[in-house]
């Protein structure tokens, strides 16, 4: 079983990211759960969403405390909260930022760090208002690349299914992120 936590801010689409990933994975016949943090979401406030993936039916229905990977939609969150809380040693932290993985030395010890400039990719494909572009699909492309949890093709299908507007642009953004993510290949 793979457990993933997505960090974002209210309005950035963390839940959609989590669900798009789930849909993509499910289309391959695997089992998934996707759920938001259970609570009140306010635009701008830190929020979480979760995805569970397994090859057999998933019965566990408690929350995710020890994710295998973490995705961070908004770099400013890193100061506000502890995005690595409970993260498995060796897990991926994928951050939407213009910085490079090496700029996150504090994470590099225990985890694998990847970065992608999803913000500018989203702007490029006109996803969301320019002031607050919707980066969730782009970053999933990057996640596909680094984690191998789901192939890009399958991911793009999932994205097209769940994203109500501009499905094509979203898919392109994901692809571009897939290709531009910064990480140390192993």
């Amino acid at each position: 079983m793979i457990e993933i936590r997505v960090h974002g801010r209210g309005g950035q689409g963390a839940v959609v990211a989590s669900k798009a990933l789930a849909i993509a994975v499910a289309s391959e016949g695997r089992y998934v759960q996707s759920f938001p943090e259970f609570g009140v979401e306010r635009r701008g406030a830190p929020v979480y969403a979760f995805t569970r993936i397994d090859d057999k039916e998933i019965y566990v229905r408690s929350k995710i405390y020890n994710p295998d990977h973490v995705v961070v939609l908004d770099p400013t969150l890193i100061e506000a909260i502890d995005v690595t809380e409970g993260l498995h040693k060796g897990g991926w932290i994928l951050i939407n930022t213009t910085k490079k993985p090496g700029d996150f030395q504090e994470f590099c010890k225990d985890f694998r760090v990847a970065t992608v400039d999803a913000y500018n990719i989203a702007i490029k494909y006109k996803l969301g208002p320019k002031a607050s572009p919707i980066v969730n699909t782009a970053i999933l492309g990057a996640f596909s690349k680094i984690s191998g949890v789901v192939s890009l093709d399958v991911l793009l299908k999932g994205i097209k299914e769940i994203v109500p507007i501009k499905p094509e642009e979203n898919a392109q953004a994901a692809t571009e992120a897939y290709n531009s993510v910064n990480f140390k290949e192993e």
């Binding site: 801010r9 209210g10 306010r42 635009r43 701008g44 406030a45 830190p46 908004d74 770099p75 400013t76 506000a80 930022t97 213009t98 913000y119 002031a131 607050s132």
Partner: protein
């Protein structure tokens, strides 16, 4: 009574009836902001319209001037929009 975040660690410390005290100040909503209003005091006429319309009580008055409290300002932009002198500008928070 302390005005910080209250965390009860045991049932017996909790009041019987879900009683709350005025301590929301612990919640620094400045972290919600992704844009930052900045007052240009050169042009400011100190009309206090920005103060009046801030839903987050994040503009206070100091020495007859409006001052933005970035600990709490959520960056809604109302002050920017309503300032008759257009002397509040918006800046992006770093990412």
């Amino acid at each position: 009574m302390s005005k910080g975040k209250i965390v009860y660690n045991r049932a017996k410390d909790i009041p019987l009836n879900a009683m709350s005290v005025d301590t929301m100040l612990f919640n620094k909503t400045g972290a919600w902001r992704n844009v930052r209003p900045v007052i240009d005091y050169e042009n400011c006429i100190c009309c206090m319209i920005c103060w009046k319309f801030c839903p987050d009580i994040s503009i206070y008055i100091e020495d007859d001037k409006p001052v933005i409290d970035y600990d709490y300002c959520k960056g809604c932009g109302i002050c920017v929009e309503e300032c008759p002198k257009k002397c509040i500008s918006i800046e992006e928070e770093g990412r």
